[in-house]
Symmetry: C2
Subunit: 452 residues, 2 copies
């Protein structure tokens, strides 16, 4: 692998320049900006490497870029990435503008440098290094969608309508990361998600709070009470049936969790929190709660006057964005129905719910030979064993592919704990960028020639 590693080292800066071009396009799916431009650039970058490409679903949303590069062997690796990014707000907290990628202190800053444009560019670098040695030893199929951050509605339509193109022997997922001591991590599952907006309208207009406060319904109060009915201070979701399909965590999963380092101290420091919910302090119980139990998060609240000082107004409208993270075998459609029934039963017929996004939970077997190979080939790059984490707290459309094709899905990438994913000052460590490409090149090589 020496020549491959040398190639990667030598061409890292060029690859970062390519990444910068991607980051400069504000492809925020929640705000539907820059999507076509970014898809076109992604496609162009694939074509430059010899991929045959197509754009799918241009009429129905952000285009899905699909690329294929035939290899000499008969095995096929599917790679999944996305070119959309989270909104950059709150803008005032960025040290440099989110869509003007900036290098400082060995890091590249900008929205999407890690999640997920950095991973796309990084994998291109790995493939460049392999192509410099000759044809690829296996076929690469690559799907890069533009709605991952808003839960992949267009990709879902494409895959469900025509799943055949995504057939493969194994899959590399969008991300991968090291822990706070630079030990690589293998994440084998994702939680599902049911993302809803709750909204209430209690009058045809806002009113003076002195007039309406005592006698008219207040949208903000209705929303607060409805939310409180969904989850109480004990953190338990109070929707009847919410937990009924949660599968017990297996003994194998518990063993994996027990073997992992304690994330507690790093999380406490990073987010400036003194403790965790439910009396958790760290270790396997913290990991179990984080990724193997469902959650209910208020992502946003909005009602009435939010400016400075006092406005004595009674709001006619109020809304909240809420995500439910789901674990096997919870189903987002079913959770949505349970939520509606819960609100109706609790005298909240006036609270409207919109299902904004949904994904099912899914996991990969840690004993799969492909997983073992990926974990094994990390040692050479990172100089330390890869930790196997049975599931991560986040979500993604892995279940979408697994519904049609039975392949193992692994993670491998360039992330690190303080990369500020979904937050201001998102960043990419250049040292991990080089390592990520080296690991990816090894995965492709060994995948082509091994059972894994």
């Amino acid at each position: 692998m020496d020549r491959i590693d040398q190639y990667i080292k030598k061409h890292c800066s060029e690859s970062i320049e390519e990444l910068k071009q991607l980051v400069e396009i504000p492809s925020v799916s929640a705000q539907q900006t820059g999507q076509a431009d970014c898809a076109a650039l992604i496609r162009q970058m694939l074509q430059a490497r010899g991929f045959t490409t197509s754009l799918l679903g241009e009429e129905s949303g952000a285009p899905v870029v699909f690329g294929e590069l035939r290899g000499t062997g008969d095995r096929t690796l599917l790679i999944y990435n996305h070119y959309d990014v989270q909104p950059a707000e709150p803008l005032e907290l960025w040290e440099t503008p989110p869509f003007q990628p900036t290098l400082r202190d060995g890091k590249l800053y900008g929205r999407g440098v890690n999640d997920d444009k950095g991973h796309f560019a990084n994998r291109l670098l790995a493939i460049d290094a392999l192509l410099a040695q000759g044809p690829l030893p296996c076929t690469i199929k690559w799907v890069i969608e533009g709605e991952e951050e808003t839960t992949s509605a267009n990709l879902t339509r494409q895959v469900n309508a025509d799943p055949a193109p995504y057939a493969a022997d194994a899959c590399v997922w969008e991300f991968g990361q090291v822990d706070d001591q630079d030990r690589p991590i293998q994440h084998l599952g994702l939680r599902g998600i049911c993302y809803v907006e709750l909204s209430v309208e209690t009058a045809n207009q806002d009113m003076h709070s002195g007039i309406g406060g005592s006698i008219m319904p207040n949208a903000a109060w209705r929303l607060v009470w409805a939310l409180r009915s969904i989850k109480g201070q004990d953190e338990n979701v109070r929707i009847s049936g919410f937990y009924s399909k949660v599968k017990p965590v297996s003994a194998a999963t518990r063993l994996l969790l027990d073997a992992l380092p304690d994330e507690g101290p790093a999380l406490r420091q990073q987010y400036g929190v003194s403790g965790f919910l439910k009396g958790l302090t760290g270790g396997a119980p913290l990991r179990l709660a984080q990724a193997h139990e469902p959650s209910c998060t208020i992502c946003g609240l909005e009602s009435g006057y939010q400016g400075p000082g006092a406005k004595t107004v009674q709001p006619a409208r109020a809304s909240a964005k809420v995500d439910f993270r789901l674990v096997p075998d919870q189903d987002p459609d079913e959770i949505f129905e349970l939520l509606r029934a819960h609100l109706d039963r609790n005298d909240f017929e006036d609270v409207h719910i919109e299902l904004i996004a949904k994904e099912r939970p899914a996991v990969t077997d840690p004993d799969d030979p492909f997983v073992r190979m990926v974990v094994d080939s990390a040692v050479d790059v990172y100089g330390t064993p890869m930790q196997v984490v049975p599931s991560i707290g986040g979500s993604g459309p892995n279940a979408l592919f697994l519904r049609h094709h039975a392949f193992p899905i692994v993670t491998a990438g360039v992330g690190h704990p303080t990369m500020q994913m979904h937050a201001p000052n998102e960043n990419l460590r250049l040292d991990l960028y080089e390592k990520g490409a080296r690991h990816m090149a090894r995965i492709i090589r060994r995948f082509a020639t091994h059972a894994g």
Copy 2:
């Protein structure tokens, strides 16, 4: 009064032009804009009528304009108005820009045309009509402040530091209005207010909801639970001691309420609500609840992501604006202390409270001779008896004056039920503008010569 009425009729348009000048200055106290400019214009308008004027408290907030015009008699009438306005947001709901006053269909539209610049300009018109006949028969003292909408901190400082200038035999308050059938209303009291901002910070930054949702405290949830602890779905405030100083409503007040028309149908129609809280339908019980019971209103909610689509973020910060309307003998400082104690007792030490504004409740005796005179002189103008409403749901600094001087306070003005006070498309009916000035001129004349 014929010549006075003729003068008013003839000079109404000029007066409206003067009002427009005032409305064009966006003197939003919550946003601290245009205050000095508006105070200067108010002062200039008073000086043009021969008032001696001064600006008080320029260093400590929006200047308080004080004017005095000596009359021939020995009685003194205090008039109270304010030149600040509520924020104009949401701007998109205005049919014409809030600070570009626009005449259409017999109404003037703009922020402050009624609350309260219209009342100031209207009283100037009444005084002009009297001055056209000769010197005023009584002395007028006029205080026009610039922080009424944010509860009068600067005026409070000025009056408490030097109450002597505000000595008077009677007082006309900032507003007055007719009901939905154009019957004039006399409002004799105001509720007090304790306006607070609740805020929670649970981490040093927002985080990915997949990472923090199950294990880290969520500021929005903390806020929701804290709010729910303050008031439940039964509309009862759950703060221990909140109701303990509420005085029972007197039999006289109940009699007044029983004599008033039913506001229910008009309120239902105006705000598009099908019913009222606590099963109220209208009549005296609705009025009792509206103005003689304390209330707790969420005026604004803010946390996390509020843009379009889905952002899977766990907010580190959340805040709510809440007003408590108070009735005799509740005290806003005491309510603030009770709220703090309530939150501490209910495990919400992390919820910070800022006291943004406070005012005590106060009422005037309906049997006062001045009140009777004002009520009586309305008949001639409006052609129908004035309704005596013992208290209005809103608040104002009446208690501030009554702490130092024992005088009756009445209302008289140009408002109407759909004037959209504190809401988009605030408007002033020109027919009521003329009537308001005619009533005010009668009040000044009869006040100078009668016991009332």
